[in-house]
Symmetry: C2
Subunit: 433 residues, 2 copies
C-alpha cells in the first residue's frame, strides 16, 4: 500500500477500505506515513466526506491504536454518556450516580474544558483530593466497588486520536463531522462499554450551532457505534442558555449535589433524569422509558444516587464531606453583580458569552497547559422568560482577582437581552436518534 | 499571520492575497510553516482552485524564493519556449538555434524526461562532453557568445518549487492546474526572460490528455506571465503520435540535425518553425508571423541555424563533430523489427506506449536517480495515414540488452492500429492563445 494512492482515492471521492484505514492509522503511529501525507488526507476528507463504513473503520483503527479496556469481569451492560459540550452542563455528575444507583455500571471517561465550555474533569478536581488519573486497574476496581468511576483519558487510550487531533488543529481540518465523530467515538469505545447515550448539543452555546450539523453528528456517531456492535442512543438538546444557574467548577459541583438532594433547577434535573433513564433502558434495567424515568427519580428521592456520588468521591481520593459543606470547596474572594438595565423579561440569554466570561476569569483554558481557577464562577439569578425589574440582579460574577473583570462583565451583560414581551420557551430535548 | 487561518480561508473558498502567499512560501523555505500545513493547503487548492491573481502571486513568490537572473546586459528581448512534454518532441533542439540565428537571444532552461516523455537535457547529454550544468556566469557568457544557451535547472532557481514538487508528489496534489502552472512558470520567470512561447500538448501522449484541460493550463500560464509583465503566447498542439520518426536520446539529436539541414520530417519541421516564428515575432525581429516564418525557413536553408547549434555545443563542452557523424553518438548494439500484421493503413499510432517502451529500455527514468541509456530508441518507419503491406517494417527497436525487450515489443506493436481505410489526419496546431 502507498499512502499517496490512498490520498488520491479519497481526493477523487472514492471509499477507503477498513484495511486501508487501519494501515494509515498504524502508519501515523509508527511514523511510516508522515504527517504531511495525513494532513493532505484530512483535507481530502473535509472535502469529500466519509461513508458510515469508512468512519466506523477509522474509529475502530483509532480505538485499536491503544489499549481497549476489558470490563467483561464486571456483570451487567456497561453504559456511558457523552455530551458534545456546553455551558453549565454538569449532567455527568448527576446522571452517573443516578444510573449507578439503579444498577447500571457506568465507566465514565470525561474530558477537560474546551473553548468556552466546561469539562467534567475540571469540575471534579475542585473537590479536594479527587484524582481523575487512575490506573486501569484502579479504574476497574472503583467501577466494581462503586458502580461508577469518573476518570480522564489516559495515555494508553486511543493515542492515534491525540496525534490526529493536534494535526487537525494545525491544518484547519477540525470541522468535519466524520473526523469529529471518529475522535469522540474512538475514545469511548476504548473504555470497554456496551452502550453509549449521546447528548448532542445544538444552538448558541454548542460547538455545532446549526441544528442540521448537530443532527448529522448525532446520526454519524450512532452509525459508527452500531456498526461496531454497541448500543447507541442520541438526544439532540438545546444549548442556547446555560443549564441550571451555576457556571464554573466548584459551583457546578454544588448545584449537582443540590439536584441529587431533590432541589435542583428543573431544566438540569429533567435533562439529567432523561439521559440517565436512557442509560437505564439501554442497560435493560427497565422495560420502558417511563419505568426507567421512575427508577431514576426514585434514586434521587431515596438518597441512593447521592450516596453513590459520595462513595465514588471517596474511592477516588476526594473529601466526601465537601459535598455537604460547600465551604470546603474553592470559593471566590468576592462577587460582582450584573443588574437589569430595564424592566421586562429575559427575552434571550446566550450561553456562549457566559462560558467565555468564566474562561476569561480562569475557569477554563486558553491552552492545554493553563492552570485552572476552580473558584471563579458566574451564577445566574434570572433565566430565559423570567420577569425582571430594572436594577434587579441578573447574575453575579465570582472572582479571585479583578484582572479581566471588565471584559467578563461586558460579556455577561451582553449575554442578556431584556424584552417587553415574554419569549416563547423552546423544549430542551429536540429529537431522539 | 497564522498558517491555519490561511488554510481555513482557502478551504472555505476564499482568495489568498499576494502577501499571504509570499508569507506561506517564505515559511516553506525556512520551515516556519511545516510541510503538514502546506500539504493541507495544497489539497485545499486542488479542491477550491485558485484565481489568476492568486496563481500569479504564488508563482511570483516561488520565483523569488531563489535567484532571479538579470539578463539586462544582453541586448534584445530574451525569449524561451516551454513544452508540457511529449514523445519524440525534440523541437527545442531545432527551434532554439533557428530563433538564435534570426537574432533572438534564447536563454533556455530545460528539464529531464518525466514519465513516458523524453527530456531535452537527456538528449543533449547524448552528445559526448556536453555539459548542461553551467554556473550562472557561464550561462550568461554562452548566451552572449552563441545567442542561445541550453541548461538544466540549477539549485539556485526557484528552490521553493523543488520542495513543493516533492510534497505534491507525495500527497496526490500534482494534478491541479494552478499548481502545475505556477511550478512551470516560477522556473521560467527566474531565467531572466522577457517572453515565453508555450507548446501545450494535448492527446494520448500528453500529460493533459483532455483538450479542455490543456486549454485551461495554457490560459492559466499565459495569465500568470502577463500579470507578471511577460510577453506570452501558447500553441495547443496534438500529441497523439510521436513527433518525427525518432524516439530516444541520441537518435533525436540526429533527427534534429537533419531538420536543421533541411531534410527533417514535415510535422517536426513545421511545428519547430511555427514555434520559432512565434519567438521571432515576440522578440520583434519580424512584424508579422508570415515574415517570421520566412526568416526561420531561411535560417534552415542557409545553414545559419545549424551553425548556431554547432556553436553552442562547442561552447558547452560538447563534440561538434558528433553532429555531422552520428556514429560518434551512442548507438544501440542491435535493432529488432516490428512488422505490420496485415495490409492497410496506419489508422492509429499512439505516442504513449512508444514513450513507455523507450523508458522501459532505459531511455528515461523510473526514479530521479536512475541512469539513462542514451543509445536505445524506437525508430518509426510508418506514421499515421501511411499505407503498409503485411510483413513490412512498422518500427525498429534499438537495444543494448534484451532484458525488457518483450515488454517493449508488445508496447510498440500495440501502439499501431492497422485499418482498411486511411484515417483523417487532424491538424497539428489546434489553437493559439
Amino acid at each position: 500500500m502507498r499512502a499517496v494512492d490512498l490520498i488520491r482515492k479519497k481526493r477523487d471521492g472514492g471509499e477507503l477500505t477498513a484495511p486501508e484505514l487501519a494501515w494509515l492509522v498504524a502508519g501515523l503511529r509508527d511514523k511510516s506515513v508522515p504527517e504531511y501525507q495525513w494532513s493532505a488526507l484530512l483535507m481530502a476528507i473535509v472535502w469529500r466526506g466519509m461513508t458510515d463504513a469508512e468512519t466506523a473503520a477509522l474509529t475502530d483503527a483509532m480505538t485499536r491504536s491503544g489499549e481497549v479496556v476489558n470490563l467483561n469481569g464486571i456483570p451487567g451492560l456497561k453504559v456511558d454518556k457523552h455530551s458534545t459540550g456546553g455551558v453549565g452542563d454538569k449532567t455527568s455528575l448527576i446522571l452517573a450516580p443516578i444510573a449507578a444507583a439503579v444498577g447500571v455500571p457506568v465507566p465514565m471517561v470525561s474530558g477537560r474544558g474546551l473553548g468556552h465550555t466546561g469539562g467534567t474533569l475540571d469540575k471534579l478536581e475542585s473537590i479536594p483530593g479527587f484524582r481523575v488519573n487512575l490506573s486501569l486497574d484502579e479504574y476497574k476496581r472503583v467501577l466494581e466497588h462503586c458502580g461508577l468511576v469518573l476518570i480522564g483519558q489516559t495515555a494508553e487510550i486511543a493515542p492515534a486520536d491525540k496525534i490526529l487531533y493536534a494535526l487537525r488543529d494545525a491544518t484547519a481540518t477540525v470541522e468535519a463531522v466524520p473526523l469529529i465523530a471518529a475522535s469522540i467515538m474512538s475514545k469511548k469505545l476504548a473504555e470497554g462499554i456496551d452502550g453509549l447515550v449521546l447528548d448532542v448539543k445544538t444552538g448558541d452555546g454548542a460547538f455545532m450551532q446549526a441544528y442540521s450539523d448537530s443532527k448529522l453528528l448525532a446520526e454519524t456517531m450512532c452509525a459508527i457505534g452500531r456498526r461496531l456492535g454497541k448500543r447507541m442512543r442520541a438526544l439532540i438538546t438545546r444549548m442556547d442558555q446555560p443549564l441550571g444557574y451555576a457556571v464554573g467548577n466548584s459551583v457546578e459541583v454544588v448545584e449537582s449535589v443540590a439536584c441529587l438532594r431533590g432541589d435542583g433547577p428543573e431544566d438540569l434535573v429533567d435533562l439529567s433524569v432523561e439521559l440517565a433513564a436512557e442509560m437505564v433502558l439501554m442497560a435493560e434495567k427497565a422495560s420502558s422509558i417511563e419505568e426507567a424515568r421512575g427508577l431514576c427519580r426514585r434514586a434521587i428521592a431515596d438518597g441512593s444516587a447521592l450516596e453513590r456520588l459520595r462513595l465514588v468521591v471517596e474511592a477516588q481520593g476526594g473529601d466526601p464531606t465537601a459535598l455537604d459543606d460547600p465551604e470546603r470547596l474553592p470559593c471566590p474572594a468576592r462577587h460582582v453583580e450584573v443588574v437589569a438595565p430595564s424592566t421586562g423579561y429575559v427575552g434571550r440569554l446566550r450561553a456562549r458569552p457566559i462560558g467565555q466570561a468564566t474562561v476569561l476569569l480562569g475557569a477554563g483554558r486558553d491552552r492545554v497547559v493553563s492552570q485552572i481557577d476552580h473558584a471563579v464562577n458566574v451564577i445566574l439569578f434570572k433565566k430565559l422568560g423570567d420577569h425582571v425589574h430594572a436594577g434587579e440582579t441578573l447574575a453575579t460574577i465570582g472572582i479571585n482577582n479583578a484582572a479581566r473583570l471588565d471584559e467578563a462583565l461586558q460579556l455577561v451583560r451582553d449575554a442578556f437581552t431584556i424584552t417587553r414581551e415574554p419569549p416563547s420557551i423552546p423544549p430542551l430535548i429536540l429529537e431522539r436518534i
